[in-house]
Symmetry: C2
């Protein structure tokens, strides 16, 4: 089915991967796009919703050069009717926004409902956990968006990805992977045997391209099913491939719970401080992944998700092992680095 | 699969139907039960969780005479460990509690998780509506129970039934059906064409017996799919079968919304008054059924429910038309009448 897709947050970490995945898929790309030889009859259009203040940024200009239509919108200051006018005519709207901007989507959902969008993908793309305050910050805000979707009877797909390879490896004594390190200080929790759903974040885009073309995923929750690894698995792969011995710190379940309660309390006292908020969210993720052990395929199915392995058995997700090869070869990217610098490098 | 089933609320309106349905099914009934010739090898036990103060009631004694084991428990005063000890060994726990007692289930869920119950059925058995405050009282409390279930990773099935035939018919000018009338004053909303999922409440029990024996419904939401009728359909059936002309009052969507907002505000000011609470819940049901139009199979599927028609195509639900025949023949029962009187009649 031909469809026009609009991405909100296409210049961010996840939105960028989704844009790449849609372009690589070939089904969605503009005829003016010089880098896609794969376009098919189901081709239509990819557009990115961009804030007025971002229009002159290099990253926005690069969208245009890739055949992506830029739609200017200011979710904060425009009213729902104005945003709905901009969304009208798109089939699918995909939202991938910053941790701090989840509730901005409320207005986007209202506008999508008004514009008759055929499928709305709210900003998910994270670990599996249940609603109801277990993840009291980020998941609870994401659930508010789901509730708004259901309030409007808006067609949807909720996509969660598990945790990303790119933030899940330990550092090495040699400093060889420090250029891309985003971890939490080589801490192994309890016996290190909690299984966690993991994905190469670039596969988020490739799989989202499949999901939005698939009627089986309409009004469903989908989890991206690549690797399921424990911390011990990860350590073993890193040691074997690097030939280095990795020293680990250790934390107990009780220590993680105490850290989470403290971080939540500090965040409550400083609700407008993004660092305190980020610390609390990170502490909640640690508890969900290693204490509660929510982030695994079994729990995803229990919570009503369908997995991409059963939906797309032909899709070969990138393995953590292959990612480590890339990482050790110095070819991984550090996330969330300055986008301007990133785009400059790309354009030279 | 053999299973031992415990019902919380077996002496109430819905719990009574569930008990009847399980007994009629034949798979669950005690060998001492004189009225079940159908028991099979999958037979085990039905038990009812009964409060100490209800032990001497006739309704409790009648449970025993039907082969139902009585398990005494006081959810309010016992702690989770004590309740868990009582639940240990049961496979399935079904909860059907009064509108005002939904949150009593929190402790029951904690105990069920501790006891390793293999399937917990929270008190659902009502109209379809989304979580998130659309039904700010009853549904929101039911969702708190769901969240507690997911918190514990407790296996579950959420069962919703649509609205019941028994509370959905208009009164007749002749007074012929007044003996069983529970309606809202013969009000038709807007054009009377909102489709609503409806069920004979006795089928709740028959279908629950199927659902708890079915592995396909584990960790799923299920809706009971009998008739889907508009108010105009209901009026037409009642007029045709009774030969009477039914006068209707009319209400607009805006009138229903205004009534709901007022009832909610009054309830907020009188949180401990059950009449105010009941009025607000009723007003919310009217909005969900006739303004939002949430209570239909399409919306149930959208919210992730599976319907019993696709699960059990051989099951013939009682039709509204057949219920009306019973009603006009004077054989329907008025709901929520005094249980003591009801049981006395039954035992004579």
């Amino acid at each position: 089915m031909a469809q026009k897709v609009l991405i909100h947050g296409a210049t961010g970490e996840t939105g960028g991967d989704i844009l790449d995945g849609l372009v690589a898929d070939g089904s969605f790309v503009s005829p003016s796009n010089p880098i896609s030889p794969h376009r098919t009859q189901s081709y239509q259009e990819i557009a990115a919703l961009v804030r007025p203040q971002s229009l002159q940024k290099l990253v926005t200009k690069s969208l245009k050069s890739r055949g992506v239509k830029v739609v200017v919108s200011d979710l904060v200051n425009q009213d729902v009717e104005e945003i709905a006018d901009l969304l009208a005519g798109y089939d699918t709207v995909i939202s991938a926004v910053a941790t701090t901007a989840q509730l901005d989507q409320l207005k986007l959902v209202d506008a999508a409902a008004k514009a008759g969008i055929k499928r709305f993908i709210p900003c998910g793309f994270t670990s599996i956990s249940p609603p109801g305050g277990v993840m009291s910050l980020i998941r609870t805000e994401k659930e508010k968006i789901h509730e708004r979707i259901w309030y409007h009877h808006l067609p949807y797909t909720i996509i969660d990805s598990g945790t990303w390879y790119q933030i899940s490896f330990p550092s090495l004594p040699s400093g060889k992977v420090s250029y891309a390190f985003m971890g939490d200080g080589n801490t192994i929790v309890a016996d290190g045997n909690a299984p966690n759903l993991m994905v190469d974040k670039r596969d988020i885009g490739r799989l989202t391209a499949r999901i939005i073309k698939d009627s089986r995923t309409l009004n469903k929750r989908v989890f991206l099913h690549a690797d399921v690894l424990t911390q011990n698995d990860i350590w073993a792969i890193m040691e074997r491939k690097s030939g280095e011995k990795i020293e680990a710190k250790h934390a107990t379940h009780d220590e993680l719970l105490a850290k989470m309660h403290t971080a939540r309390a500090v965040c409550m006292k400083n609700p407008s401080d993004p660092r305190m908020r980020f610390a609390a969210i990170s502490a909640e993720y640690m508890v969900c992944k290693y204490v509660r052990q929510d982030n695994n395929p079994q729990n995803a199915r229990y919570l009503g998700y369908i997995g991409t392995r059963e939906l797309y058995p032909d899709f070969e997700p990138n393995t953590f092992s292959a990612f480590v090869d890339e990482l050790l070869a110095g070819q991984a990217k550090k996330l969330y680095r300055d986008k301007f610098e990133f785009m400059q490098k790309k354009s030279t």
